[in-house]
């Protein structure tokens, strides 16, 4: 008889063998997203006097492989704002579904009977919400691996453009770009809109042309980019989203002068 109380009622070691505690390992660390897998590259956004232009290409890369070439990375919200997603595509899909749900909830709770009812959540509200969501997730050490641009109008009807990233960091500026774009496209856009005051003098055409030009520069220089892209224009009249834009008048004349990469020996 084993007289130690803690052994009473337990399977006897002399009958069943010593218990193997490795089966009890339940408190292993949680495994969360620690690196993005399928990714989207840059998102560009730029304000003009009546609204905002935003663009992103249609590529989802699997490492350096151009895996999916028809992934739409711009998303309308409540027919009044656009969110552009860079970074992990599965997290983008999660956010996309989450935003669909949010838009439905808001459509139910907000007044539809009042004559001058405004859009439920404007771009500023949406950006604040997304940045809080991103910060919440990074605080759980389970970040949503994205960098976002939110384009639309604020409560005053003025153009609104802001960024949020996987840490919950926020930033706002007359022109914004995420990823490679922040190095390659941002300086070009700043040439057109160096500060808030200059936004007043930029027309819709100027802004669109500048963003198209930037998309081209990115396609030349960013190996994870594509020549098919989405472009959206947000004004007080709503969102015009075109998802099958093609880069036009490309010039690769410079290409054969590039040396020093890969296997070439010349």
């Amino acid at each position: 008889m084993d007289h130690r109380p803690h052994a009473w009622g337990r399977p006897r070691d002399d009958v069943y063998g010593a218990y193997d505690p490795s089966y009890m390992q339940t408190n292993v660390p949680n495994q969360h997203t620690q690196s993005p897998i399928v990714t989207g590259t840059s998102v560009l956004g730029m304000k003009f006097k009546d609204g905002v232009v935003i663009a992103a290409d249609n590529l989802a890369s699997y490492g350096s492989l151009a895996r999916f070439t028809d992934v739409k990375r711009l998303r309308k919200f409540a027919e009044s704002s656009v969110v552009g997603f860079g970074g992990d595509v599965s997290d983008m899909q999660y956010l996309d579904r989450h935003l669909t749900e949010l838009a439905i909830d808001e459509a139910y709770t907000s007044t539809t009977t009042t004559p001058n009812a405004q859009p439920t959540l404007n771009a500023r509200n949406l950006h604040k919400y997304l940045s809080k969501l991103l910060y919440h997730r990074r605080s759980k050490f389970d970040p949503l691996w994205n960098s976002l641009l939110v384009a639309g109008l604020d409560e005053e009807g003025a153009p609104f453009l802001a960024a949020a990233d996987l840490l919950g960091t926020t930033f706002t500026s007359p022109s914004l770009a995420t990823g490679f774009g922040s190095m390659l496209a941002q300086p070009i856009m700043r040439g057109i809109v160096p500060d808030e005051a200059s936004v007043e003098h930029v027309t819709r055409e100027q802004a669109i042309n500048c963003v198209r030009e930037c998309m081209k520069v990115l396609f030349y220089r960013d190996a994870r980019s594509l020549d098919s892209y989405s472009l959206a224009v947000v004004t007080k009249d709503g969102v015009e989203l075109s998802e099958n834009e093609k880069l036009e008048s490309q010039s690769w004349a410079f290409a054969d002068r590039i040396k020093g990469y890969g296997t070439q020996t010349v």
Partner: protein
Amino acid sequence: MFRNNYDNDSVTFSPQGRIFQVEYAAEAVKQGSVVVGIRNAEELSSYQKKLFAVDEHVGLAIAGLTSDARVLSNFMKQQSLSQRLTYDRAIPLETLVSLIGDKAQLNTQHYGKRPYGVGLLVAGVDDSGPHLFEFQPSGLTQEMLACAIGARSQMARTYLEKNLDKFADCGRDELIRHGLRALKETLVQDRELTVENTSVGVVGPKEPGKRPLEAFKVYDGAETKDWITSIADDTEAGGDGMQVDE
């Protein structure tokens, strides 16, 4: 000896389909002192001893149990703040009011709970314009153009109904005077509106139809003097509304 068997709790229906505990709670509102609220396109106002600001753009007036009102108003403050933090926006009035409506209705449906013994007038301005809501202990909420709750409030409602068409074109001060005249209707004989027993809560845009908002402010004591004296000269018992004889 007659005894009502169906009023022991708030989850028992009478054979006629009534819930007596909820009706008793409505009685508590009638015993609370009167509050009046009016809104038009650019102004709204409400008056009573107990006026609270919930947020910059919302205020409320209570009739009934002050302690229950405090519970509701604290809850509303929290909800308003939470919307400012997560969405950076002023909570829409309809959202806010339906939240307390649901909260109050829950109390009429759970055994061992009791309904709130307070009625509220919730006034505020959001993206869709000015709103005035009435809240009842049953959880019922209604949007109103003008409303009065509390003791002898029927007289005020009569005044408001008669003058309803005028409110839309009123300026801010004229609308406040209408509210005060309605309030005056409810007074018992030999009582008058004074700076001691009257306060006025106002929220609205600084300029009609424009955006910058003048935050909900409660005017007390001497601040209400000009308005009160300006309606003191009106004909006895409520000015133009009552002179129906031809």
